[in-house]
Amino acid sequence: MGVSVPPPGSVGQVELQMASLFTEAEPLVLANGEKLGPVEVAFETYGSLNERRDNAVFILHALTGDAHAAGYHAGDARPGWWDNLIGPGKPLDTDRFFVICANLLGGCQGTTGPSSINPATGTPFGLGFPQLTVADLVEVHRGLLRHLGISRLLAALGGSLGGMQALQWGLSYPEEVANGVVVAASSRLTAQNIAFSAVARRAIMTDPNFLGGDYVSQETNPDVGLAIARMMAHITYLSEDALTEKFGREPHPDSREPGFGIDFAVESYLDHQGQVFLGRFDALSYLYLSRVMDYFDPFSTPTSAALVTQAPVKWLVMSFDTDWRFGTEHSRRIVRRLELAEQPVTFREIQSPWGHDSFLLEVPSYHATLRAFLDRALVEVSQ
């Protein structure tokens, strides 16, 4: 059932839009030198661009996100994934800000990715799709920004992999980003982070239906492997306390005696998360985008931050105290590196019991901080 009258604070009904960026003749040149073109991009916008074209905020989504950040698609009962942040009167007040969200390169929700049809061959790219970097994702977002006729963002804002994109954008093109908001992100994954991704990828690639990445043309899907990858990742998105509070050691209602099925409520929950994920996410995108995170290391050279030192961006970096995927130490590293690059940086560690997932939730002090920072950004741009 759809929502005929949107609730207060909602942007209401929205539609996914498409843009075709780059061409075969003028392709996107990736960081590794490979070329892609055309690149189809799925995106949504909320609010309106002002006359000075200086109120645009680009929302950068995380590993498994999509372009539908706010409002309702026709017929849907659930709003976009960051609806608690975006809408009239919300911290990203659509009466004042023009909000853009695009599915990222390598994704599977409308933007060109490894399961898209390669225009050169007429078959899916599969594992022939080039390896990507966060910088490549940013290049496509920049292409969309040009397509929309915007030369400078009021803010680039994202959590987790989204925060990495905001960071990369500001470091590489500081003149295009007045403010960078980096939430629950990392500037360099630890061995533990990479280890989790490695197990997820192994689950996918050893699924008999993976077929060396050709599953799309063979009309099958590595369901088991992808669901396991999601189940495991989901554990890392929540804190131990959050899982305890949600499920404790509650038995699953259908469970009668100990066995190897779904005995505990938490097992049922994870199983459900895995199954739902199959309906909306692609295994190859999971491989490619998790690798993008593994290799992200934007401060790797002494000159990494030279551009942004010349043209400072105002930064807001936030972490959550119970996040053990990208905990506070990851954010502190970003802050320290930005400080060494003489950037104006604001940092807060937000208290929230929900772990990494907190960045998607309406944690009051978190939203109050975003509101204060974005309101100030709007004041400064109109000065």
């Binding site: 930064w315 400080e339 060494l340 104006p344 604001t346 940092f347 560690e349 901080t369 100030r376």
Partner: protein
């Protein structure tokens, strides 16, 4: 925005264009002034959540952390000036904080209320804990953990090898005091120190 008199004085002691770290920056008034009027850059450090939000609203970069335990965050010699304004008396580990300040910055500016002010001594002689414009809280709800006179404080500076470059003694009005310059520990309600390692 009108700056408090003691902050105006403090701002005047900071060279144009400095990188400034303001420890216990409150709502960021000093930094906002320095950024707007003296081409300074820098950040505040604050732990009170409402003050952090106020600083963000003023456009002042602010890092939320605990001065007593988390100053390791800042790199060696990463700031020109490190300010500790009316904050040392609230710290659990003032000695360690002063050492951290010397590591982080080149020039340190520390302002402190003086417990040894004559008026405070008289009040104590009458058997009451001092209260004044500079020490406005009752003993049971004060954020101040430490009460020092200027003489005691200068001993602490010496013990961590901080050299006093300049001392401005303030009258209870918050303005520089002439009698205070002659007898600081008796007539200074507060003092601002410029220190260097």
């Amino acid at each position: 925005m009108i700056l408090r008199p003691d902050l105006t004085l403090l701002a005047g002691m900071i060279p144009d264009g400095s990188r400034v770290l303001d420890l216990g920056c409150g709502s960021g008034a000093l930094l906002a002034h320095l950024i707007a009027n003296k081409t300074c850059r820098g950040a505040g450090v604050e732990i009170d959540p409402d003050a952090v939000l106020a600083a963000i609203s003023l456009g002042v970069p602010v890092v939320e952390l605990d001065l007593d335990t988390e100053l390791d965050h800042f790199a060696d010699h990463s700031y020109d000036v490190v300010v500790l304004s009316r904050t040392i008396q609230t710290l659990k580990r003032p000695r360690e904080v002063l050492q951290q300040m010397a590591r982080i910055g080149d020039q340190l500016i520390v302002s402190v209320p003086n417990f040894g002010l004559l008026r405070n001594r008289l009040r104590l002689m009458r058997g009451r804990m001092p209260m004044s414009r500079d020490l406005p809280h009752r003993w049971y709800d004060t954020p101040n953990l430490r009460f020092t006179t200027l003489v005691d404080l200068e001993e602490l500076f010496a013990s961590v090898e901080l050299r006093i470059e300049q001392r401005i003694v303030l009258a209870p009005t918050g303005l520089p005091s002439r009698t205070g310059q002659a007898w600081p520990n008796l007539f200074g309600a507060a003092a601002v120190y410029v220190l260097r390692a």
